[in-house]
């Protein structure tokens, strides 16, 4: 089975564009420091905190790119894969491999930004789980949208968040009006929320659902004419 084609091309695109973001932010910081020098500030003043400021700007942008990338690429990579003799299954596996690679990269960025000093493994695992949960959501949404024509993308893109919002508001209203839990129930619920294991379970369950959905959507992808 040949995996590398879509995976290689995908990673090349991801890191090439991230490099552009990196160089743009770096250039902006250098220009602003040079302006500082030109306006009479000392070299130390102009470049003080350069590294931290640069990282604090670059890393959020890198996270945004990380989330956006898998919303954007599923259909693009489907077409590339199909043109080059790949099956839907191979394309999906390549994309999952890409998700793992980019999640590890973004996790390393988080460590580089100061996340390395924790004594226990929980924060590390939690961060990794959050990163992969977010990107798997983006990938599932991107794969689902790849099934839709432009018209339906707009309809679903507006309708789905609206429906979710309305449903959530109604649920909260119902809970407020009709649900009056006892103190013991509230305590039990709060201990459940406090227990990190429930968050881990939720995170893993979420990941499994998103990966399952992305698989279903990718296996149904077709060439569109719009």
């Amino acid at each position: 089975m040949r995996l590398p084609m879509v995976y290689r091309k995908s990673m090349l695109t991801y890191f090439a564009r991230l490099a552009i973001v990196f160089l743009t932010v770096l250039a902006l910081f250098i220009i602003s420091s040079v302006f500082g020098l030109l306006t009479g500030a000392s070299l130390r003043e102009s470049f003080s905190g350069f590294g931290d400021d640069f990282l604090n700007t670059f890393i959020p942008l890198a996270y945004i790119w990380f989330g956006f990338y898998y919303l954007w690429v599923p259909y693009r990579e489907f077409k590339l894969g199909m043109q080059n003799g790949q099956t839907r299954h191979q394309i999906w596996l390549s994309q999952i491999l890409g998700i793992i690679t980019t999640t590890i990269f973004n996790f390393l960025l988080w460590l580089a930004a100061g996340g390395w000093h924790y004594q226990t493994i929980t924060p590390y695992f939690g961060t990794f789980l959050i990163l992969i949960d977010v990107v798997s959501l983006a990938y599932a949404v991107g794969s689902g949208f790849a099934l839709l024509s432009r018209k339906w993308k707009i309809i679903v893109g507006i309708a789905t968040p609206t429906v979710i919002l309305i449903v959530l508001v109604q649920i909260v209203r119902l809970l407020i009006n009709f649900w009056h839990p006892s103190a013991a129930t509230l305590q039990a619920l709060s201990s459940l929320v406090d227990w990190s294991g429930s968050w881990v379970l939720c995170g893993l369950l979420w990941l499994a659902i998103m990966i399952g959905l992305s698989y279903l959507f990718t296996m149904r992808q077709q060439l569109r004419r719009d």
Binding site: P4, K79, M82, G85, T87, Q222
Partner: protein, 287 residues
């Protein structure tokens, strides 16, 4: 090399039927022509055969296995189509690299020779190329990929006469060097007639012809002469198309003619070419 079989294939979009119950097979080492009028479903058929779209019903098998999600099958097929499958900024050289990574083999030396012959800059991005040059870049990729079935959908889109001629020559050359199956879907029927040995004609959702070109043309006739004599000779024949200028009438039939039938002196019977045969079969009217 094995046969690609299409069995009872149907495609519907909603209530609209595009292809209905098509069955045919593609044998190794042939050059096929896939003909049909605009909207006949040629591109849809090729997309389905290459697993880019799903059929509503029926199956496509290669060596007995369904082609759907089968890497060994898809690795033996290549579809060049007018659909844009590459990101805008893809360079011609990137197309070659991707094909070389995706398929088991890619003749890079041939690709370099062809880009030089067609005068295509390998460093150029697809979005900077004209329609014709984009088509050429896609064609070069298709000719250099080592697969058993090469599908070319509108392979001459935007190509000038010189480039078309060069393409036909290179197609035959690569076919001689490494015989494999080509399927050409085109409207330039006269130009591809010398290349193809078998023809499929799609019309009104159905495959109305699945025949060797020689056999089809052996039974494709234009019968002309004084209207009364032509009518007398053609009694009982299925007339697919006809035209009358003054008293001279020409009728077109695609069927074997009875050798015992007496041909009136003033009636002339001639073979027609593939383009004319296609037009009369698909009910093309001429003024």
């Amino acid at each position: 090399m094995t046969t690609l079989k299409i069995n009872q294939l149907t495609k519907r979009f909603g209530r609209h039927t595009i292809l209905e119950n098509l069955s045919f097979q593609l044998e190794p080492q042939h050059i096929y022509g896939l003909l049909g009028r605009n909207g006949a479903g040629k591109s849809t058929l090729l997309n389905i055969i290459n697993n880019r779209n799903f059929q509503t019903d029926g199956e496509i098998t290669l060596a007995g296995d369904s082609i759907n999600n089968t890497p060994t099958a898809l690795q033996r097929m290549y579809l060049m189509s007018e659909a844009n499958m590459y990101p805008k900024r893809t360079r011609v050289s990137d197309m070659f690299k991707m094909a070389a990574t995706g398929y088991r083999d890619f003749d890079l030396a041939l690709a370099h020779r062809l880009t030089s012959e067609f005068e295509v800059d390998e460093r150029a991005q697809l979005n900077n190329l004209s329609t014709g040059l984009t088509t050429i870049a896609k064609l070069i990729t298709a000719l250099c990929v080592d697969v058993d079935f090469v599908f070319l959908d509108e392979p001459t889109l935007g190509l000038d006469a010189n480039h078309r001629e060069l393409f036909y020559r290179e197609l035959l050359k690569t076919y001689e060097d490494r015989p494999r199956t080509f399927i050409l879907s085109t409207h330039l029927i006269s130009e591809v007639q010398p290349l193809i040995d078998h023809v499929f004609i799609l019309h009104h959702q159905h495959l109305i012809k699945d025949e060797a070109v020689d056999e089809l043309l052996a039974n494709a006739w234009a019968i002309s002469g004084p209207a009364a004599l032509v009518d007398q000779y053609c009694a009982g024949l299925t007339i697919l198309d006809q035209q009358t200028i003054s008293n001279i009438k020409t009728v077109y039939v695609v069927q074997p003619l009875d050798e015992q039938r007496i041909i009136p002196d003033q009636v002339k019977i001639e073979h027609i070419d593939l383009q004319r045969a296609f037009m009369v079969l698909t009910n093309g009217k001429e003024n």
